[in-house]
Every structure is written in C-alpha cells, then in structure tokens.
C-alpha cells in the first residue's frame, strides 16, 4: 500500500470514529469529566495507537503529519479524545525516533503495536515551576533494578493508561537539567492520587495529580539524553499535534456557526443575514489558523531527519511560535463563532452550542504556558540572527 493510500485510510478511519463514536459521547465525557473510553476503544480496535510504529515492527508506519490529521479529525468532535490521542502519539514518537537503537524498545514498540498499549506522560513535577527541562526526581540504581519516585501535579489519563513515559535526573547526583526519559511499565507503576481534575475544560483527559512510584530494569531508560529527545521530537511533535487538535476544535466551532447562518438565510431568502458578515471574518481567521498549523507541520516534516536543524535555535523558535499562535487563535475563533450564533451558541441545549468548545479552547494557552513559550523565544532571540 502506498503511503498516500495509507494516509487517506488512516484519516478516514479517524474521521469515522470521530463522528460515529466520539461525537455522541462528547457532552457526557465533558459533563462527568470521565475518560472517553468508547472513542479510545474504537481507536484501539482500528490499531491507531500504534500508528507511528514502523511497519517493520507491526505498526501502521504513519507520519507525524498523518497523525496530526487524525488529531484534527478527532478534535472536531471531542477535544479530550483528540488530546489523549495526541499526547499518546508524542510518547510513541519519542520512542520510535530515539529508542530503536535498543533491543528493549524495539521489542516494546512491536508489542505496543500488537496490544495497542496506551502511554501517558509524566514530565511536570512539583518543585520545578513548570520547566520541562528540569527534574527533581532521579533514577536510583540498586543492584540490577532502577527506581524513581516523582511528585506529579498532573498525569493525563494516569488511571487509564498502560504505561507512562517520565522525565527524571539521570542519577541521584545529576544536575536538575541532566535528564533522561524512563518508560514505566504497568506492572512496575504505583500511583497514589494526590489531586483531582475538576476543570473548566478538557475534562475528559482526567489529568489528576499523583505520587508516581516506578520500579523496573535499567533498559527502560532511553539512552539518548532527554535534551536531544525534547528538542528533536517531544517539543516539536507536541506543538504540531496539539495545534492540530485545536484546529479541529476551532473548525467544528466554525462549522456550527456556518450551520447557524445557513439556517438563518433559509428563513429570509433573498437577504444576506447580518451574521453572515461576522461569519466571513471568522472563516478568514480559521483559514489563517489552518495555514499556521499546516506551515508548522511542513516545517517539521522537512527537517524531521536532520537532527542538526531540529536542534537549532531557529527551529525551536518557529515551533514555539506555532504553539503560541495556534493556542491564541483557537479561543479567538470560538469566541467569534459564539458571536455569530448569539444566544443559540450560548445555550448548552442547542445544536449550535459552543460552551464546551470555548472552555476546551482556553486550555491551549496553558499547556506549557504561552508566557513560558514566548519567554524562551525572547531569550533565544537575544543570540539568534536568522542569517
């Protein structure tokens, strides 16, 4: 099968699951802040959790762009489902792109593709102030075993996941920025709940706080330093797939506004409804967002096999800009769509309802705070010359 045909079918499958499974459950997932188990089961059934695993290891061999298209398709129905799928794929991408040198991770990825395991992420930690690139916890080695204890303020779908990819200092005497990734396996994970997840939006991600205790073997530590994994894969892939989720969310908000205006126009044939002008502005904003997200994706795909380019300041600045822009545009577009739909969008019981979209969209600026993202760019721009 050609990759284009595979891509088509993968996105088609995501679209079908989005419409048939995720959409009908989205309001219930939001209202009761529960895991979107129907949609995740459907994704598993279609072997989409192993999408990024190379075909040689039994996966679908999809590209990050294809996965991003799936995230956007899911985001049109349920942002929580789309974000869980996106977060899982970020972890798989880290292992596929940096773990294949190790027999342990080759075997793990083959099994992931076969059993459709779900991976969560534990990067944030109490005591580092939201800095991805510093850890307090450390990999402690004892005989032939390793152990990590991490105070995690949030682990999205921590209670529903199979495995967890976490950051930790390389060793007990390592500096806070000298980090490695550790794949915690289900049997070696102990979670003690320390916090709840009762939030404005993204309620289905169930990003509870935990004390995470991990035990395992040294081969579960990714040998490539986390600094390289972060700059070459985790950050850029996160920014492109997150942006795709937000694009999907914004697209559905605009679709509702369009349906609202069409219904209005049908009631007053011959006259363009006043809301149509606001809609035209909103569609223009959505097109800008689309261009931003697709541009970021193209940038990543162009450099994906060039560690030097991926590790450069210019690329990091552009990926940070993608994140900051897409996360600013999503709530703006939903707000515009709400203005188009008026009271029908404001109601929670109308087909044009936009409350969930608006609440979900406001999470975008907080997932790695935009202030942090732009501060990082501010610092890098002091030395970057764009020559």
């Amino acid at each position: 099968m050609s990759s284009v045909a595979a891509a088509g079918s993968l996105v088609e499958t995501a679209r079908r699951i989005s419409e048939a499974v995720a959409a009908p459950a989205a309001d219930a997932v939001d209202q009761s802040a529960r895991f979107p188990h129907e949609a995740m089961a459907a994704l598993r059934e279609e072997r989409m959790l192993g999408a990024l695993v190379p075909r040689a290891f039994g996966g679908l061999g999809a590209t990050v762009s294809e996965v991003a298209a799936c995230c956007a398709a899911l985001g049109r129905s349920c942002a929580s489902t789309a974000m869980i799928y996106a977060m899982h794929q970020i972890q798989v991408a880290c292992l596929v792109r940096h773990g294949l040198v190790s027999p342990y991770f080759r075997d793990y990825l083959a099994q992931l593709a076969q059993h459709e395991w779900l991976i969560a992420s534990a990067t944030s930690e109490h005591g580092v102030g939201g800095d991805l690139r510093r850890s307090v916890c450390a990999v402690e080695r004892n005989d032939s075993r390793i152990r990590v204890i991490k105070e995690a303020p949030v682990i999205s779908y921590g209670e529903e996941t199979d495995d967890i990819l976490l950051t930790a200092r390389r060793a007990s005497d390592a500096a806070p920025a000298d980090q490695v990734l550790v794949l915690a396996r289900k049997a070696g994970i102990r979670l003690t709940r320390t916090g709840a997840w009762d939030t404005l939006g993204m309620r289905g991600t169930r990003s509870l706080g935990f004390t995470l205790e991990v035990s395992g073997s040294p081969e579960q530590v990714v040998s490539v330093p986390f600094s390289d994994v972060a700059s070459q894969t985790m950050l850029p892939v996160a920014h492109v797939v997150w942006s795709a989720v937000w694009l999907g969310l914004a697209t559905d908000a605009v679709a509702r506004a369009r349906a609202f205006v069409r219904a209005e126009a049908r009631r007053t044939p011959g006259a363009v409804p006043p809301t149509a002008f606001r809609l035209a502005e909103t569609v223009a904003e959505l097109d800008s967002m689309k261009a931003t997200v697709h541009g970021g994706l193209a940038d990543f795909e162009q450099h994906r096999d060039d560690p030097e380019a991926l590790g450069g300041l210019g690329f990091a600045i552009r990926m940070n800009n993608l994140k900051a822009s897409a996360s600013r545009m999503a709530p703006e577009i939903v707000t515009r769509a709400l203005a188009v739909c008026g009271i029908s969008g404001y109601r929670c019981d109308s087909p044009y309802s936009l409350g969930r979209h608006l609440r979900d969209a406001h999470s975008a600026a907080l997932m790695i705070s935009n202030d942090r993202v732009l501060s990082a760019n501010a610092a890098m721009l002091l030395v970057h010359k764009d020559s």
Partner: protein, 86 residues
C-alpha cells in the same frame, strides 16, 4: 599562546555566568557542561557573555547545543571566529 587565553576567557565567563552546579576549576576541558548543570537558559546567557567577552557574534550554525557542551567545544567555535590556531 592565543588558545590558552581563549580557554582562560571561557573559564572566566563560565564562572561568572554559567550558573553551574560545580566549581569551574574542577572541570576538565572535555567535561560535559550540561552534566555540570548548564541549562538551556543558562546556555543563552553564556553565549551572550562569550560574544561580549570576545567581541564576536556566533553565527546561527554555531548555536547548537553540542557547540556549548564543553570548554573544548566552545574553544573550537571561538577559535574559528577570532581566527586563532587551535
């Protein structure tokens, strides 16, 4: 020797601006600065301080993590910019 001056200059800048977890004098020229506590934010500060100290501008191709991973790596970059023998 010019290269010694460069090394001394780098060590001075690292001591003043590197915010390392260890004493710079205990580091070998080949020691990994990131393992010694250099952060990504710290590396930007370090680049700026080196540009000021040596009156140079690092071109973007040199603004890579590996180019600031050790005193020896920094010296290689700087030597290209100030035209010294290494």
């Amino acid at each position: 020797m010019m290269s010694d001056k460069i090394t001394d200059g780098i060590r001075g800048v690292l001591r003043d601006f590197g915010r390392l977890a260890v004493d710079v004098s205990t580091l070998a020229d080949q020691s990994n600065l990131y393992e010694a506590g250099l952060t990504s934010h710290g590396s930007v500060t370090l680049m700026l301080a080196l540009e000021d100290q040596f009156n140079v501008e690092f071109p973007d191709r040199m603004l890579r993590r590996e180019a600031f991973a050790s005193i020896a790596a920094i010296r290689t970059s700087l030597a290209q910019l100030v035209g010294a023998d290494v």
